[in-house]
């Protein structure tokens, strides 16, 4: 017999609802209060700037859903950016090959993370902490001493054009998000990821190759970091050695605001995307209203704390009504 759902549970029962409400609320507030907020070109530019974060957030959703975490995504993005710049400016290779290698490098870092987590059974936070330092370090190494920025040569013109003047990055981010959402909700891989995040031991006993799945999610995220790195190089017109610095915390914040549970087993790519969109809207709104960046960061922190507290309320309510319904 289906148990009755309490009022609280009905309100916040849908995992993505809080972040969608947050996004809509912020959007409407700024549409009314922030001058020129609704200017279409401006909104599109804002979306474009946040595309790399959205791409990272998709990968992180999968990883966090499996019960892991990856704080190296920003550094891997940075390495990919620098690798692209180095290959384009110091060798004769064309854009396509350079981009492929950059994405390949990202995948390699991801695969390394995955291997260490899945097969060497090291803790994700620790492995990715070391990769975070190593990838950033290697970016400095291949750039060379005293080089902080490599201008992209003309053969990268197509990339710069695509990332700066068109909505290609946004469309790409949406495509990746749709793919991620479909994987998580419709595919066997998605089911396995959530099963592992929910109860790894039980999942292993039921015959699932946990190690392969874990390797896959980290490798996928590495590839996505590489893609985000290529896009960033195009948007910045250059490969900067500090590219991606701090992106991991912004992306993880968006994923958590979006409703994915940090303990694993419950994930929503749609929520993560809305989380990034909420951050984008906040940035544009505050910027147009002239509110300082410090207040924006503080606000972001408060939103994170509140949205996760809300998630706890939801779980608490669900547990209470379950107990109540069973007549205990």
């Amino acid at each position: 017999m289906k148990r009755r759902r309490s009022l609280i549970e009905k309100l916040v029962g849908v995992r993505e609802l809080p972040v969608i409400v947050l996004f809509a609320g912020l959007f409407i507030y700024f549409a009314l209060k922030a001058p020129n907020f609704m200017e279409l070109q401006g909104l599109l530019d804002d979306a474009r700037q946040y595309a790399p974060y959205a791409i990272l957030a998709v990968g992180l959703t999968l990883i966090i859903g499996s019960g892991g975490i990856d704080i190296s995504v920003g550094s891997v993005l940075g390495f990919s950016t620098v690798l692209l710049g180095v290959i384009l400016s110091r060798t004769g290779s064309g854009l396509a090959l350079a981009a492929l290698l950059a994405i390949g490098a990202g995948t390699a870092f991801g695969a390394f993370n995955g291997y260490a987590v899945a097969y060497l059974k090291l803790q994700p936070v620790v492995v990715t902490l070391s990769t975070m330092a190593a990838a950033r370090g290697l970016a400095y190494v291949i750039a060379g001493t005293g080089i902080s920025s490599i201008a992209l040569p003309d053969k990268a013109g197509w990339l710069q054009e695509a990332t700066n003047s068109t909505s290609a990055p946004v469309l790409l981010a949406i495509a990746i998000a749709v793919a991620g959402a479909l994987v998580m909700s419709q595919s066997a891989l998605g089911r396995k990821i959530l099963a592992i995040g929910g109860n790894e031991a039980a999942t292993r006993f039921s015959g699932v190759d946990v190690q392969r799945v874990k390797l896959a999610v980290y490798a996928i995220t590495g590839a996505l970091s590489g893609i985000a790195g290529v896009i960033t190089a195009g948007m910045f017109n250059s490969a900067t050695t500090d590219a991606g610095l701090g992106y991991e915390f912004e992306a993880i914040t968006a994923v958590l605001i979006g409703g994915t549970s940090i303990t694993g087993g419950e994930a929503t790519v749609v929520g993560s995307v809305f989380g990034v969109m909420a951050a984008a809207v906040l940035s544009r709104g505050f910027g147009l209203m002239g509110i300082s960046e410090h207040w924006r960061m503080m606000f972001l922190g408060l939103i994170l704390i509140t949205s996760v507290l809300l998630d706890r309320v939801r779980k608490y309510a669900a547990r209470r009504s379950a107990v109540g319904g069973a007549g205990l």
């Binding site: 803790q123 936070v125 070391s130 330092a133 190593a134 410090h294």
Partner: protein
């Protein structure tokens, strides 16, 4: 009858690594082992070392505190302002109180709010870092014109204070009941609760302690520099976590020692100092640090097998 197989003490591999590192450096550069270099390393390690002790306890309870650097900054600025205006004792108390209050907030979110520690402290990191900048009028420096806290920062004092904190931590975790509770909660919280331990109270205490130690580290920092600015300690939380992890404490909780963290802090400090002594090209520093963390964790994994 076969002799029982003696378990390798968990800190041995990392301790040996530290010894090997120091020996290699001392042989290559004699000045490494000088008193003045020891003082340099001690001053370098003091603040991170102090917060690492609190971080160890937090991580053993399977938690984490990403906000320590921001707590340090806010406490230092609050106390520093008073000290600069002539109220040294009051300023120190204010700093410690700020640290404890921030820790209390973290603890409340985690115990009563039932928030996962990584999220609660990440959110607090954003809030407190922005708060510290806004509090100091957009990031202005606090300058102690008369070096009022120099008694904390002179000579070997920072190292001495840090070592005392480590000693207290080691003692507390082993011989004080609350210390053993920390391990129990980290190992199996439900079992601990059933055994009569109050996990909520212990956790709350641990996060308050973490905040207090962050504030102490802030006072020592101001003692060394006679100045403080909101961005001075950005990234210290990751350095503390790295030290704890290199020292053999598991992020999963339930095991680990403060002594291990001491070795971890030692390894990172020696690496930083050694890199400069041997003239290592700076472009390699980050990569070396990443490799060091990985190596330490791999060694620890092998030890467990």
């Amino acid at each position: 009858m076969t002799k029982p197989h003696k378990r390798i003490p968990k800190e041995l591999p990392t301790f040996l690594f530290l010894v090997a590192l120091c020996t290699a450096l001392a042989l290559t550069k004699h000045s490494f082992a000088s008193a003045s270099n020891l003082r340099t390393m001690g001053t370098d390690a003091a603040a991170i070392g102090i917060i690492s002790v609190g971080m160890t306890a937090v991580i053993i309870t399977s938690g984490i505190d990403l906000s320590v650097a921001a707590v340090l900054a806010l406490s230092a600025l609050v106390g520093g302002e008073m000290i600069a205006n002539g109220h040294v004792a009051l300023g120190c108390i204010a700093a410690l109180a700020t640290g404890a209050a921030c820790g209390l907030l973290n603890g409340t979110l985690i115990t009563i709010g039932r928030m996962p520690p990584i999220i609660a402290t990440l959110g607090m990191l954003y809030v407190l870092q922005a708060g510290a900048t806004l509090y100091s009028n957009g990031g202005q420096c606090v300058i102690l014109q008369h070096n009022e806290l120099a008694f904390l920062g002179r000579g070997f004092t920072p190292l001495g204070i840090a070592l005392m904190v480590f000693a207290a931590g080691m003692f507390a975790m082993k011989y004080v009941r609350a210390g053993r509770y920390v391990y129990a909660i980290g190992g199996n919280e439900e079992a601990a609760r059933l055994a009569g331990i109050k996990p909520g109270a212990v956790k709350m205490g641990i996060y308050v302690l973490s905040g207090l130690l962050a504030a102490l580290a802030g006072l020592v920092t101001m003692g060394i520099n006679s100045t403080f600015q909101a961005n001075d300690v950005v990234g210290y939380e990751l350095a503390a976590i790295a030290a704890v992890v290199i020292g053999g404490t598991s992020i999963m909780g339930g095991e680990g020692t403060v002594f291990g963290t001491l070795i971890g802090v030692g390894i990172s400090t020696v690496l930083r100092n050694g890199a400069i002594l041997i003239g290592l090209d700076p472009k390699w520093t980050q990569a070396v640090i990443g490799a060091a963390i990985l190596l330490a964790v791999l060694v620890d994994r092998l030890r467990r097998k």
